[in-house]
């Protein structure tokens, strides 16, 4: 317990040291505010952007784009992974295309999407769907394939129907890997959303970043970066929360439940 408090105190101290260093650097070197504003100015701007609702309005646009794109992408990724794991033929047919698309930096597709679908929601969603799809698909395959053979044998001996084999054994057994895939997918989705808003948006936190940059408004820019970070953290944590509930039984969780 004492060690834990010590670590918390130390990390808070570290934060203050960092802010102090920032403030000192800006003041001593007379850094112009449009390049690096002092910490209190950024804090002020951040608070006022929360007060006037800008962050909530723009953040909401980004958030629901991510949620829809992540939902569709990871859902499709799960099914593609599930069927690939079941059927070697299916996997062999789609694997060259999967590799090809996976090797392509998704961001490089945005200009093409803009030509095809314009500057609106479809382009953004498509990028996020692609970003979320592959981590979930690959991890689902991995999870399904790493089920020890005797679990299949057990279900065969008990005359399990295909339905109960999948629902009561395969999916729960593969959940650790699927959750790992969802976490990566969420990180990728946030990146996808921000980048697509740079290029194809007139709303959202990504758009706010580009807008601030074009105005040389470093206060706004740094506040927007902070807001993006918070959004990413909240989304990542919500996945972790789900994981914690689902995987209370998994080795990776033992340290948390029994160690304290």
């Amino acid at each position: 317990m004492g060690k834990k408090i010590f670590i918390v105190i130390l990390s808070i101290v570290f934060l203050f040291v960092f802010i102090g260093f920032w403030k000192g650097y800006v003041t001593l070197n007379n850094v112009p505010a449009f390049i690096l504003p002092p910490p209190e100015a950024v804090a002020q701007s951040f608070v006022s952007l929360i007060r006037d609702g800008t962050f909530f309005a723009e953040g909401w646009v980004t958030l629901y784009t991510i949620i829809i794109g992540f939902g569709i992408g990871s859902g499709l990724g799960f099914f593609a992974g599930y069927f690939s794991a079941r059927s070697r033929v299916f996997e062999e047919i789609i694997s060259p295309y999967v590799m090809l698309i996976q090797a392509t930096p998704k961001v490089s597709l945005i200009p093409l999407f803009v030509i095809w679908f314009g500057l609106g929601m479809p382009s953004k969603l498509l990028l996020i769907v692609l970003s979320a799809f592959f981590p979930v698909m690959i991890n689902t395959i991995l999870g399904m394939r790493s089920i020890p053979e005797d679990y299949e044998n057990l279900m065969t001996i008990l005359h399990a129907s295909e339905r109960s084999r999948v629902l009561k054994m395969k999916i729960p057994m593969a959940t650790p890997q699927i959750m790992a895939g969802l976490k990566i997918a969420m990180v990728q989705s946030v990146i996808g959303a921000i980048v697509s808003e740079w290029m194809a948006g007139d709303q959202g936190l990504g758009y706010l970043l580009v807008y601030a940059s074009s105005l040389y408004d470093a206060n706004l820019l740094m506040s927007a970066i902070l807001a993006t970070t918070f959004l990413g953290l909240i989304l990542y944590w919500s996945i972790e929360l789900v994981e914690k509930r689902l995987l209370f039984w998994h080795e990776s969780r033992v340290a948390f439940t029994e160690g304290t």
Binding site: P148, Y151, N153, I157, S164, K168, P172, E251
Partner: protein
């Protein structure tokens, strides 16, 4: 001890590998025949690669035989298979408690009665697992997990118990303990047991009869009856009869 429960007749198993042009055939089992009578404890003993696990998989229907036949003249209750199967690993579902793991077969077969739960409870006692009903597999030792796995195999009260090197992954001390637990369970339930092992002393200690198998190709070398008195305990391992059996088997397996 006369009614034949498991009848294995001329079972062959050939595995093929390689490409279409160069097909390689590997004979895992060569004309294996033997029978198991009701209530009998029979071990399949042999070195790695003699096909004893393959044989057990064929008997349980997990693998098809290339030729020959296996007939089991017992039926399970309702939709249940006539046998319970214990694997080398416990194969427990890690998100279920020990008790829920033991009840898992009923969930799959979709029928559970009050008597079933009572029987599982009783088996928990026999397996000396009292007080661990609500533990999760990761909280149990390897030996305890394997005991839960035995309880699960017996949960739906099958007449036959098939065990595929169930204690092979455990340390020697735990293994001795589990042998005793298994004997106690067997004494009080009188299941027909077919037990695969590569440990000579384990086979002698547990069995009524030992089917000794050899490699290349996998085949039955000899059937050796074990005439040690029952019920057995650790003391039997110090008798000259026990040594004699072990010695005979060791010679056969050379």
């Amino acid at each position: 001890m006369s009614e034949i429960i498991v009848d294995v007749k001329n079972v062959r198993k050939i595995f093929t590998s390689g490409t279409k042009k160069e097909r390689k055939e590997f004979s895992a089992l060569e004309a294996v025949s033997f029978t198991v009578s009701k209530g009998e404890f029979v071990s399949l003993l042999g070195p790695s690669g003699c096909g004893k696990s393959t044989l057990l998989k064929i008997i349980s229907g997990l693998l098809p035989a290339s030729s020959g036949a296996v007939s089991i003249s017992e039926t399970g209750a309702k939709k249940a298979p006539p046998f319970g199967f214990v694997f080398q690993d416990s194969v427990l579902l890690p998100w279920r408690t020990a008790f829920d793991n033991a009840l898992f077969p009923f969930e799959i077969m979709g029928s559970k009665e009050k008597a079933d739960e009572a029987r599982v409870k009783e088996l928990f006692g026999l397996a000396k697992l009292n007080g661990f009903e609500s533990s999760y597999p990761r909280q149990l030792s390897g030996g305890m997990k394997q005991r839960v796995s035995i309880v699960r195999a017996l949960s739906y009260n099958p007449p036959i118990l098939l065990m595929d090197e169930p204690f092979g992954a455990l340390d020697a001390i735990t293994r001795d303990n589990l042998n005793n637990v298994l004997l106690e369970i067997w004494e009080s339930t009188r299941k027909t047991v077919l037990f695969v092992t590569h440990s000579i002393s384990e086979a002698v200690y547990l069995s009524d009869r030992i089917i000794v198998m050899g490699t290349k190709p996998g085949r039955v070398i000899k059937e050796v009856p074990v005439n040690l008195p029952r019920p057995r305990n650790e003391d039997v391992k110090l008798t000259p009869e026990f040594y004699a059996s072990v010695k005979e088997l060791r010679e056969l397996l050379k």
